[in-house]
């Protein structure tokens, strides 16, 4: 069952843009760091979708490769970010992203 559809490219792009904007809104609105991270994942995923769609436009593998790099980036980001989340909740007893603003002068 090897099939691929011909889909209007701009529809895929609009979907990707919509996902990206939803994710961005999430990053801006949420205070809970877990939700911020999830929104970031959504944004990255949207980028990946755009890349794959662009790759599909010319039937080239490059789009999928960029998606894989995004995947690797996401994996690395999540590994570190979740470690930070655990430290955050352990030290400040809160998941508020602004809880750790000890840097202000």
């Amino acid at each position: 069952m090897n099939f691929a559809l011909s889909i209007p490219l701009e529809h895929v792009f609009v979907l990707a843009a919509a996902l990206f904007c939803i994710g961005l809104t999430g990053v801006l609105v949420r205070r809970n760091v877990m939700f911020v991270l999830m929104s970031l994942e959504v944004m990255m995923n949207a980028c990946g979708l755009a890349f794959v769609a662009a790759g599909a436009r010319w039937a080239q593998a490059d789009g999928q490769i960029m998606f894989m790099f995004i995947l690797a980036l996401a994996a690395a980001e999540v590994a570190v970010a979740l470690g930070i989340v655990l430290q955050l909740s352990r030290r400040f007893d809160s998941l508020d992203v602004d809880a750790a603003n000890e840097m202000h002068s």
Binding site: L24, V27, L28, R31, V33, V36, V97, D98, A100, N101, E102, M103, H104, S105
Partner: protein, 620 residues
């Protein structure tokens, strides 16, 4: 020929086994692996050498793999075997093997580093491996890899007894000083690559002959840079100061550094790149001068040393000086010939002195020795044979090679008689200090109790090396002259005036030595007791004050500059920068408040602004 790659592989495997086992193996296994790997390499070298000779001594290469591929720069790990590298390989593996066997006995009951047996042999094997890569590599990059590997291993081994900070200092000195030479070497390499576009040795030599006319400046510059590299590795003036201090390592290490590996690297490099020096006689002349100066300085220094190993160290410098001078005057194959015979007798001398030192419980001062010839017959015989070869008495191995060098030097059009005269003086001095060493060590009254504890694995190599030191001169090196332009044949026949003087110098030296140091004679003692000679002695003893000079010329100004600069105007610039930064910080701190969402907000805002601006431009 297919077995060529095995030669460096065995030492590498030995290193990996010993290194990865982390000293967990029993000593007997370590000894077998450590010495056996070199032994196997020596056997393979023998087989390969035989096949090579049978095949008519045609240069052969073996491509192992391509290192990397960056644009047009494609260095390959390729082994190259011709007469020159075969001789080097034979010396490294053969003499190296004997040294390793000796070391199994020498290091067995080492009380300073009882846990270090495995580590010692791991480094030794790596040392041999690096040196083999240096001589077998067909690419200057591989050569450089071996070059640096040799430097690293010498650092590790000189500082082997790392509990004493002085040894660590000696190791560091060796590393830093040779690094100066390495920098020259690297610069030469870069320059060569820029000019000729390749780092393949053979290809670059061919290209150099085409690209550069006789006396070309570029060839001179590269030749001098390579000479700088050789100075560092081969301990030539002015980068020679590390070698005497390198005696801090265990004696087999000294033997390995001085006889089979490391210091011969510079000689090999110049011999390998000989086309460059033929293109540029000017560079070649400076090679000869370097050799001559080293030769004279170090043989004088050797005369006044009290530490038996330091005497040998300075004698190595002078013998390497002979080789370098030989290269400089065009006695190419004689240089390599001397390299080989020197490897035999210098390994012999070091190992024999190691036996003496071990028997005296690590006593190295010759003035505390004496009367040992009865108690240590085998080391005594070995030392005697080695000394005779070092002094180049006729019919010993050293005689043939040194004779060839000196007679060729006399032919040199630029300053033949100077070179010959210097070499002859040095030959005289060599015989003198050799006699002094023998007399002080083995004759006279015994000053320290000796316990001969050497077994077959220490005496065996000595006996073999005795044979080589005596008879090694008969080998002849026809295969090398196939590679190098043969400058070895002189116009003087063996009974001309100059040849006779050359031959007589060692004999005169030995007789003088016997006369001066043999037994206390009033006049001589008086002569040596004058203030002038005492000053000379002290000056020579310090190695002509090079350490002092470097301390004053390099270290002291640097320290002074640093001290001067500790609290001065330069800091103002930084303080200004600091206060500016602090001022800006106060402004920015308002913005950078550690609130993550505030940052996110700004990023998003920036994104939108950029987007709008771009849109404006595009649509606009």
């Amino acid at each position: 020929m297919d077995a060529l790659w095995l030669i460096p592989t065995f030492p590498l495997l030995g290193f990996l086994v010993l290194f990865l086992s982390q000293g967990q193996l029993p000593k007997i296994v370590v000894a077998i692996v450590g010495a056996g790997s070199i032994g196997l390499a020596a056997i393979v070298a023998l087989v390969v050498g035989n096949a090579f000779m049978d095949a008519g001594a045609e240069p052969q290469t073996q491509l192992l793999w391509t290192w990397m591929r960056v644009g047009g720069f494609v260095p390959e790990i390729r082994l190259y075997l011709d007469g020159l590298s075969l001789v080097m390989t034979g010396v490294i593996t053969g003499v190296g093997f004997l040294i390793h066997v000796y070391a199994t006995g020498y290091m067995w009951d080492d009380h300073e580093e009882p846990e270090g047996f495995g580590r010692f042999f791991a480094y030794m094997n790596l040392f041999v491996f690096a040196m083999l890569m240096l001589v077998l590599g067909d690419n200057l990059l591989v050569l450089f890899l071996g070059w640096e590997g040799v430097g690293l291993c010498s650092y590790l081994l000189i500082g082997f007894y790392h509990r004493d900070p002085n040894n660590g200092y000696a190791a560091r000195k060796a590393f830093v000083v040779t690094r100066v030479g390495d920098t020259f070497m690297a610069l030469g390499l870069f320059l060569l690559f820029r000019e000729l576009g390749t780092t393949e040795i053979q290809a670059s030599l061919v290209a150099a002959n085409i690209a550069w006319p006789e006396g070309s400046t570029m060839a001179t510059v590269i030749g001098l840079l390579f000479l700088g590299g050789a100075m560092g590795k081969s301990a030539q003036v002015p980068l020679q100061t590390w070698l005497p201090d390198a005696m801090a390592g265990p004696t087999p290490v000294s033997a390995l550094i001085h006889a089979a590996t490391m210091v011969t690297a510079g000689v090999y490099l110049i011999a390998r790149m000989h086309d460059i020096y033929i293109i540029s006689p000017e560079a070649q002349f400076w090679v000869a001068v370097t050799g001559l100066v080293t030769l004279l300085i170090s043989s004088c220094t050797a005369l006044v040393q009290t530490d038996i190993k330091r005497v040998l160290a300075f004698s190595t410098m002078s013998q390497i000086g002979y080789m370098i001078m030989a290269l400089g005057v065009g006695a190419w194959s004689a240089a390599i010939f001397h390299l080989m015979t020197h490897a035999f007798f210098k390994a012999l001398l070091f190992l024999a002195s190691g036996s003496v030192i071990l028997a005296l419980h690590h006593e190295q001062d010759m003035f505390k020795m004496g009367g040992l010839w009865r108690k240590l017959p085998i080391p005594f015989m070995s030392m005697l044979v080695g000394s005779v070869a070092l002094a180049a008495l006729p019919l010993t191995s050293g005689f043939f090679s040194k004779d060839a060098i000196m007679l060729t030097a006399a032919d040199n059009p630029a300053a033949g008689m100077v070179f010959w005269g210097g070499a002859a003086v040095a030959a005289f001095m060599t015989a003198l200090y050799t006699t002094r060493m023998i007399l002080l060590t083995f004759f006279g009254e015994a000053k320290t109790a000796a316990h001969d504890s050497s077994g077959w694995n220490m005496n065996g190599p000595l006996v073999v090396l005795c044979g080589l030191a005596l008879g090694g001169g008969w080998f002849g090196l026809g295969i090398v002259s196939g590679v190098l332009p043969d400058g070895g044949m002189t116009t003087h026949d063996h009974f001309s005036q100059i040849a006779l003087v050359t031959m007589a110098m060692p004999l005169v030296g030995i007789l003088t030595g016997w006369f001066v140091f043999g037994s206390s004679r009033g006049d001589v003692t008086q002569l040596l007791g004058t203030v002038f000679s005492e000053n000379v002695r002290r000056f020579w003893y310090s190695g002509w004050g090079f350490d002092w000079l470097y301390d004053r010329a390099v270290v002291a100004p640097f320290v002074a500059l640093a001290r001067m600069n500790k609290n001065d105007f330069v800091d103002l610039v930084f303080k200004l920068a600091a206060s500016t930064t602090r001022g800006v910080h106060h402004v920015l701190a308002v913005i950078q408040n550690g609130r993550l969402r505030w940052y996110a907000w700004n990023m998003a805002l920036g994104l939108v602004v950029v987007f709008v601006v771009v849109m404006w431009e595009v649509m606009g």
